[in-house]
Each structure stands twice: as C-alpha cells, then as structure tokens.
C-alpha cells in the first residue's frame, strides 16, 4: 500500500516584488504555497515555532491555519520545530541555569498549538553550535539530557513527543556522543528524529542509526547531501551550514545523486514496522540557482517513483501488507 503519511517541512522561498522571500510574505503567497504542496500530495505539514504567530495573524489563529491546510487535503500540522542554534546568556541547552527559560519558551510554543488536531512531534535541536559548546564532555551531555527529559515530560502532557534532530554542527554529532545522549535521556520522554543529510555529513550512517534506535525514532527529514564534513567545517563560526569554506551548499533534494541511500532507508523503515510520518525537508534549496518549488516536485516524484518501489519490494520480501 502506498505510504500516505508524507509531510513537508516548512522551508520555502518564493519570488516576490520585494525579492525572494518566504511565503509568509503575505496571505496570498501563503495560500499559493499550501496549494502547491497539496497538488504534490503532501498530507502533513511541519513548521517552525517562529512562524506560528505569523500564520495565526493571517488565518485567525493557528487552528485557522490548520483548517486551511485541511481544506486543501492535509490531515494536520504534524510537527513543530524549536531550536537554540546559537548559545546566548539567556538560552543555551548546555548551561543548566538557562533551562527554566527554555522550558518557559517551550510552554509558550505549546500554548500556540492548543486546539490543533494533534501535533505529533515537538522537534528540537538538542544543543547549540559545537564551537560554542565545546569541550563536549560526558557532563555536558548529561546537562543537555536533563533539559530534554524535562521538556519531554512537559510536551507529552500536551500529546507531543519531544524528539531530537541532530545537526552536523551541533555539540552532539558523533556516534559516541549520540549513544551517550540516548543513554542519559529517558526513552519515555526523549525521542530520536533522523535527519538523513545531517548525520551523513557528520560521518554517521543514518540507516544504521535508525536501525539501532528504531524504538525511539518518531520521524525523519528526508534530505540529501553530497559531502561528508572532512575539514572540521562543523566548527566554523558563526554558522557551518553557510560559512564552511569548502562547501557552499550542503543540502539537496532526493534523487540528485547524493550520498544518502534512501531506498535502503525505506526498506529499513518497512522492516522495522515504523508507521509514522516521513518528512521531506529542503534547506537553502535556492543556493546555486535552485528553486524550492522544483526541488519539492522532484522530491515528490522520487517518492512516488523510486521510494514507492523500494517500499513495495521490501513489503514483498517480508510478506507484509501495509
């Protein structure tokens, strides 16, 4: 059976009279964006916490925005992404004194999600940049784990799973660091969100990682990359995703000859029995002349034509029918 739970992570840039802008430029652009995703067949929508007030303004509340999605064939808003990429004196996951503030921020975000159909994932970057956090010791990871245990308990009370999305430039990036982090976090409260490109860049095999942490995995960002970080780009201040001297563009849509084995991952997902949402993400797709609209369409083609085949093959092999 066709996998119906594909969601789209809300990165998008479109041409406007004021230059290339996110569709939140105004309601008309936003409507067109949602219609494009709908036309391709996405049924879930993931977004950032900082867009919620904008969408609330345009659609008379976040539930109003979700109703607009539903009018266009979506099931619901599926995930909310929250992050502190830069450590500041107010917010830094590795600094225990800032945890109250972070918990308060998360509480505010949860409040904005009230009356929605059922957001499933509260996706977080577990740490700030590596260069601001290092040295990354066992204790550092323990402090970070304590924060997300706390947040995880809170979000679960609102029906959302706190799930950790690891950046290649974050303080928890190696296989060993990931293992320590998962050891220190409570499986009931803290989950794993597998971003295929980020792990690949960090030199960690995302398929193997999923295999090993399947029980804690609550979602994926399906995106590709053409480079493993071989030059310690992860330590580049202020932002390795944009400032790395050797690599100007890290992320690509599926099907463009990147390093991630998506059919392999799809087979692994089928074999594991995972039946949640799969999310497509395109980050900075416009670099080098790319277009978000085209990248999204091409990725969906890849899903419908390549991943569907991989899924069917895996199901046949396992004798399962979804």
């Amino acid at each position: 059976m066709v996998w119906t739970k594909w969601s789209y992570m809300d990165h998008w840039v479109t041409e406007t009279p004021q230059g290339p802008q996110p569709p939140s430029f105004n309601r008309a652009y936003m409507d067109r964006y949602v219609k494009q995703l709908s036309a391709l067949g996405f049924t879930g929508f993931d977004t950032f916490f900082f867009y919620l007030p904008l969408y609330a303004g345009m659609y008379g509340g976040v539930p109003g925005f979700e109703r607009f999605l539903q009018d266009n064939g979506f099931d619901k808003i599926t995930g909310i992404f929250s992050a502190y990429p830069s450590a500041t004196k107010y917010t830094a996951p590795h600094v225990r004194e800032t945890h109250d503030r972070i918990v308060a921020d998360c509480t505010n975000t949860l409040r904005m999600c009230e009356a929605l159909t059922g957001v499933e994932n509260f996706i977080v970057m577990p740490t700030s940049t590596y260069y601001q956090t290092e040295p990354v010791t066992d204790d550092t990871i323990k402090v970070v784990a304590d924060l997300w245990n706390r947040v995880g308990k809170l979000t679960l009370e609102h029906g959302m799973k706190t799930t950790c999305h690891f950046e290649f430039w974050g303080a928890i990036r190696t296989r060993a660091q990931l293992e320590t982090f998962f050891e220190y976090t409570d499986p009931e409260y803290v989950h794993f969100f597998c971003d295929t490109a980020q792990h690949t860049i960090a030199g960690v095999d995302p398929v193997q990682l999923f295999r090993d942490y399947r029980d804690r995995c609550t979602g994926f960002h399906f995106k590709d990359t053409k480079n493993v970080d071989e030059h310690e780009a992860y330590r580049t201040p202020p932002d390795p995703e944009l400032m790395a001297p050797q690599v100007t563009r890290w992320f690509y849509e599926m099907g463009e000859g990147g390093l991630v084995d998506f059919p392999g991952l799809m087979k692994e997902i089928v074999a594991s029995g995972y039946d949640g949402w799969l999310t497509v993400e395109h980050d900075k797709a416009e670099l080098g002349g790319g277009s978000y609209a085209e990248a999204t369409a091409v990725a969906k083609w890849y899903i419908d034509n390549v991943l569907a085949g991989a899924q069917a093959a895996a199901e046949a092999e396992l004798g399962v029918a979804r």
Binding site: E15, P17, E286, L287, G288, G289, G290
Partner: protein
C-alpha cells in the same frame, strides 16, 4: 587630464526578473531603459549588440539610428560593434564549403545595408560552422573559409566596418594550430581577430599569447572569464556545446571571479604594451545560470576594470 586610451563597451546579453519571469532588455522600452541606465551607471561608455536585434530596433524604436539615440539619451556614446550570429547550415551557409559562399556574401551585402544608418567599428563573426559540422578540419577547409571571409571583409570595409573573427571553443576553428593556419590565409586588410578571453581559454589556447602574435590585426575583445577548460568532446555537442557539454554546467563568469583561468592582468599589460587604443567589450553570457545575476555581474566586472585593469592601462 590624461588621454584615455581604453573605453569600455557592454555586449548585449542581459536578463532581469519581471512579474512573468526572466526577460531580456528588449522585452519593453521600460526594460531597455533600465538596462541602459545600469550599464551607464557603473561606468560603461557604449554597448555592442547582435545583428538579429535589428528587427527589434526597426519594430520597437524606428531603426538603428533611432535606437542609438535612445542609447545616447541614457548617457552612453553609441553602438560600437554588432555580432553576426549566423545560423550556419552545411546545405547553404558554411564558410568551409565554397558552394555556399555566394549566399554568405549576399547576406553581408544586405546586412551591411541595414546597419548603414549608423557607424559601427566591427561586425563580429564566428568564422566557422559548429565543430561537428566542419570536422575533420583540413587545410583545404581552412583555406576555403579564409577565402570566404576575405571577400566578406571587402564588403564590410566598403561600409567602413571591420570584419572580425571571434573563435568560440565549439566552432570549427578553435585550436591554436587551426587558428594560425586560418590567419595565414586571410588578408589582414580585410579580416581581423576579436579576442574572447574565455572562449580561447576554454579551447586550451592562451589568449594573451594569441593576442601578442596577432596584435596588429586585433580589432576588439570580449573580456570574460571561465573556470573550466574543455575536455574530451565537450566542443562537439549538438546542438550547442555551451549548453550541452557534459563536464560543465556554466562556462562563463565575470572578470575577477574566484578560480578564473584568464590572466586579466597579463592581458591588460599586453593591451598596453601593444599600444592598443579603443574599445574593450565586456560580455556576460548566461550569467544568470546557477544563481547568478546580470546586474551584479556587470557591476562587479566594471569594479574589476576600474580597480584592477585601469591601474595597468587606461
């Protein structure tokens, strides 16, 4: 004030983004006006154009003279060169095939008549068909080609315009040896060389050395850069190697680009040492590929001309 030896002209390639997608400057009077203003603002003195634009000049502006008035209204001096982008066809229009020569000559008689209401410096041609239509490139073919352009040059000279050859990396005469043979058969009085820095580099020919060898008959330049030399059969792809070559998605960059292969400082030094006086044209071809932007490339190339090249020779 010092005598100015070099003036800068801008070759007609351009795209800007409009509500209906990317358009060139000939899209409307408004886009033309914005184009000319931008060229002038950054310090270019004139423009070059294509022969096929003459229809738009007649249709939209009332002919080349009227169009040139608009160019001048925006502060530019004039139209310096035109590029005769011929649609080569071995059946009826191929310089290496003598049977087609009369057709080519007639084309130039008509073309020069159309341009006669303004005074151009050069009419620029790609002197050979596409490589795959000419190969194997034999001495005879080079000779026939030279004979053709000698005759064309005589026609254009009658209009006070130089016939000058621009060697694309994918045309039939692009290797150093073939270029040398070709010029040995052409008459310097009627056939000039137009040095495109990037095209020669892509073809593996050093544009500075080429220029130094033929400086006495060089009548202009396209200053643009590239980051790649053609390899394998890059130069033999139908229909157009600039677009279809498998190794390289974008061949051309503005002067001063990172990893550019053209040694512009050496080029400008050679221009100075050969005592060249006149126009240098800047060309950006497909500058909007891979996220590029014509406006930005134009400003940056003029920045480079002013801050680097004019320090050598102006």
């Amino acid at each position: 004030m010092n005598q100015q030896n070099i003036k800068w002209s801008y070759m007609d390639h351009w795209r800007s983004n409009g509500p209906s997608g990317p358009v060139d400057q000939w899209h409307s009077h408004k886009t033309m006006s914005a184009f000319l203003k931008q060229i002038k603002a950054t310090g270019f003195d004139a423009i070059d154009t294509f022969d096929f634009r003459i229809w738009q000049m007649y249709g939209d502006y009332g002919g080349p003279a009227k169009y040139q008035e608009m160019v001048q209204d925006n502060g530019l001096e004039r139209i310096v060169n035109t590029f005769h982008a011929a649609d080569y066809d071995v059946r009826n229009y191929a310089p290496h095939i003598p049977a087609t020569h009369e057709y080519i000559l007639e084309d130039f008689r008509v073309t020069m008549g159309r341009w006669s209401e303004i005074q151009l410096d050069n009419i620029i041609v790609m002197p050979a068909t596409l490589y795959y239509d000419m190969e194997p490139v034999t001495e005879d073919k080079l000779k026939y080609t030279a004979e053709c352009w000698n005759k064309v040059g005589e026609i254009t000279a009658g209009f006070g315009v130089k016939l000058t050859c621009h060697h694309e990396f994918f045309c039939g005469i692009q290797s150093e040896a073939d270029i040398e043979t070709f010029y040995s058969y052409t008459d310097p009085q009627y056939v000039s060389l137009f040095v495109d820095t990037a095209q020669h580099c892509i073809a593996g020919v050093d544009p500075v050395a080429l220029y130094n060898r033929h400086a006495h008959r060089v009548s202009g330049f396209h200053f643009k850069d590239t980051r790649n030399v053609a390899t394998g059969d890059d130069h033999r792809h139908r229909p157009d190697s600039e677009i279809m070559a498998p190794t390289t998605g974008k061949w051309f960059y503005e002067m001063g680009t990172d990893q550019g292969l053209v040694d512009f400082a050496a080029m400008m030094t050679a221009v100075r040492d050969n005592g060249y006086r006149g126009w240098i044209s800047v060309e950006h071809d497909k500058a909007n590929k891979e996220g590029g932007d014509y406006s930005e490339s134009t400003a940056i190339s003029r920045w480079y001309a002013k801050n680097v090249l004019e320090e050598i020779y102006r």
